[in-house]
Point group: C2
Chain length 400, copies 2
């Protein structure tokens, strides 16, 4: 299938499956591994597009589900698509809306045609299926669009109840096969393959055999990229890592691999070491709006009284507008305690810059084999996997 | 009295009392007539300091009342004052807190010592009087600080009731004399006259004889500047204009004149023509947060359905980040309808820039006698006062 997406791998890690690359789209390129800020309703909450770009973010994500319901994908199409609408000149990725439709909506029916639910805006009956998801995303006009997948809410109900576990496994089997069938219909329905690159999504929940089955079926279709879906919906980090480490190698080496909705810094590094190239997550912006600041040594909750007279910046040496601008923790706390918008604005920029500085350092670690420096500079990552520690002499330094 | 404030008048209008000048303070200078954005809690809501500066704002206002209650003026003093705390490198003015204490607070007592009220933060009993207002403002460290004045809420109760009107006039007489007595105490208590310039405030409500009495007493004290208080609390524009036109000429020619809390564009122009040099008002930022956009032809309410598919910017030719960035009215409406912070952020910048572009044009009109161009470029100002129309040939153009 013809695609406007070009993926080039520029360096590979000698210790792991990690790789550094570059993805070019019709609206510009981005370096991988890449972290994509979430701009649900065609805005990264609280930030001007230039401020998002200044964090080092090169591509962002919009949510098809929200934009379809309001202001409407047809309305956005008439305005020239999401890039023109939100004034973001770089690459954009849209999800299919499936995840939200299956997890957030007041659902009336799920069947082989898709999901029917009540609109959160006006209660109207809305149907979303593979064809409609393609129309919506063709209207929105993002550079990368996602297949409509069947993603049942992930929290496995009653693990001690064998009946429930069996029922949930059966539901996941249905989801795997339905996702394959829907992907074929998405490929058929996709009306702008010369401008927008459609990624397939692997399902299968926690079951490795279902992941195998899904990956085999999805990668049988030649697509510009593949995503791992159905993770990071509440499972512990070890469980995320197990699924990702199993699934990533099942995807083609020469195509971008996108892990949807993950995650914390450690989760990203482990997924990158398993060969993942792209990430999106609400954590930096959502936590930032709630006074949670990411730092290299862990997270700060700025409402805490211990910051009341703290004249330090969030993270010494950080080049974000909050830190380089000299805004103290005491001032930031004052903003949050007073309900002032500038608090979320400054922390969202800091947190996104934190993630993008981490991605910069990870890309350097892959290129230059400087993993030990990475773990030293980012204590929040822990001491790293044992395999890396052994292979990497610097890790023997007891001070690191 | 020694003062670090230098005021130079650079041009005078040949048609009116308007003048163009420059005020220098220890933290930089600003051009007059000047419009000061309101940054109540040491932040102009939703904007980075650099974004405030980019609107052309050269000085801003902080509210002593709010900052005294939270995070506390002593805490801010320990952090180096409001400039360092909020990272604003230009001049700052603080009000005395009197206006809020008299109008917003749950008041326990008002007497010659000041006002005692319950804190809106924790219900604690707080006293504010002339000495305390100086301590607070000395702690906050603004370049221009305001006298603690007795400003009774302005809405005149029961004008048809002669008894109520007499009682209110008596209250205003008390306020005038108390404000004079308190100013003497403020001058005595002011501990940083070499760094901070104390302005006196004229009271007297709508009564011209009381304004005369107040102006005579206040200007008898040699201060770096004088303000007109007790207006713009609900009266019609004609009433504001009558009071300002009467009071401004009572103030020294060679000192800055500051009209507190005013106002709409027309109100500013009329006050400037009466000889006023400085203004502050919440309108551009407060209206902006509520989807109200100022334009040269009037205000837009962006929630209105008529903007749903409006691809135009707020004001063609405006150089604010919203207009020059190409954000459409349709997109801005979407942001407000969706409750997205970026809506208030963009409109606050646009509205502040609107005010600052107006001030630029007014300063040019004064310098170059181009009032006709001003009224033509800003239809929201109306056709201008009759005196100017007659004196200014271009106003005879029926198309203008």
């Amino acid at each position: 299938m013809s695609s406007p997406l070009r993926f080039s791998i520029e360096a590979k890690c000698s210790h792991s499956e990690a790789r550094v690359g570059r993805i070019e789209t019709p609206n510009g390129g981005f370096d991988t591994p890449a972290f994509m800020p979430v701009g649900t309703r065609a805005t990264v909450k609280g930030l001007m597009p230039e401020q998002v770009a200044a964090t080092g973010s090169q591509i962002l994500l919009n949510n098809a589900y929200h934009l379809m319901l309001r202001p409407g994908d047809g309305m956005i199409a008439e305005r020239g698509g999401v890039h023109a609408f939100m004034r973001w000149n770089g690459p954009i990725l849209t999800d299919s809306g499936g995840y939200q439709a299956f997890s957030m909506a007041d659902i009336n029916a799920i069947d082989d045609e898709g999901v029917t639910f009540k609109s959160i805006i006006d209660g109207a009956r809305v149907h979303l299926g593979p064809e409609r998801a393609m129309v919506v995303q063709n209207n929105l006009g993002a550079d990368i669009i996602m297949a409509f997948d069947d993603c049942p809410p992930a929290a496995e109900p009653g693990q001690e109840d064998p009946g429930a576990a069996t029922a949930f496994r059966h539901r996941l089997e249905v989801a795997v096969d339905r996702t394959t069938a829907w992907l074929k219909r998405c490929v058929q329905a996709h009306a702008r393959p010369e401008e927008q690159s459609l990624f397939g999504i692997i399902q299968g929940g926690p079951h490795e055999d279902l992941r195998d089955r899904s990956a085999a079926a999805i990668t049988a279709m030649d697509l510009p990229g593949y995503a791992i879906g159905g993770v990071a919906t509440g499972e512990p980090p070890e469980e995320i890592h197990r699924i990702v480490a199993h699934t990533a190698p099942l995807l083609p080496q020469d195509k971008p691999r996108y892990l949807m909705g993950v995650g914390y810094e450690k989760d990203l590094v482990r997924a990158i070491q398993a060969g993942v190239d792209m990430f999106d997550c609400v954590l930096p912006t959502r936590n930032g709006r709630n006074a949670g600041a990411f730092t290299s040594t862990g997270r700060l909750q700025l409402r805490n009284a211990r910051f009341k007279e703290d004249d330090g910046v969030l993270e010494p040496g950080c080049d974000c507008p909050a830190c380089s601008g000299g805004f103290s923790r005491a001032y930031l706390r004052h903003l949050f305690i007073s309900g002032e918008m500038l608090g979320p604005i400054l922390l969202s920029q800091h947190n996104l810059r934190h993630y993008q500085r981490l991605m910069l350092d990870i890309r350097r670690a892959i290129r230059e084999d400087t993993w030990s420096l990475l773990y030293r500079a980012w204590p929040v990552l822990g001491s790293g996997p044992a395999a890396l520690s052994v292979a990497d002499g610097a890790r023997l330094d007891p001070s690191s």
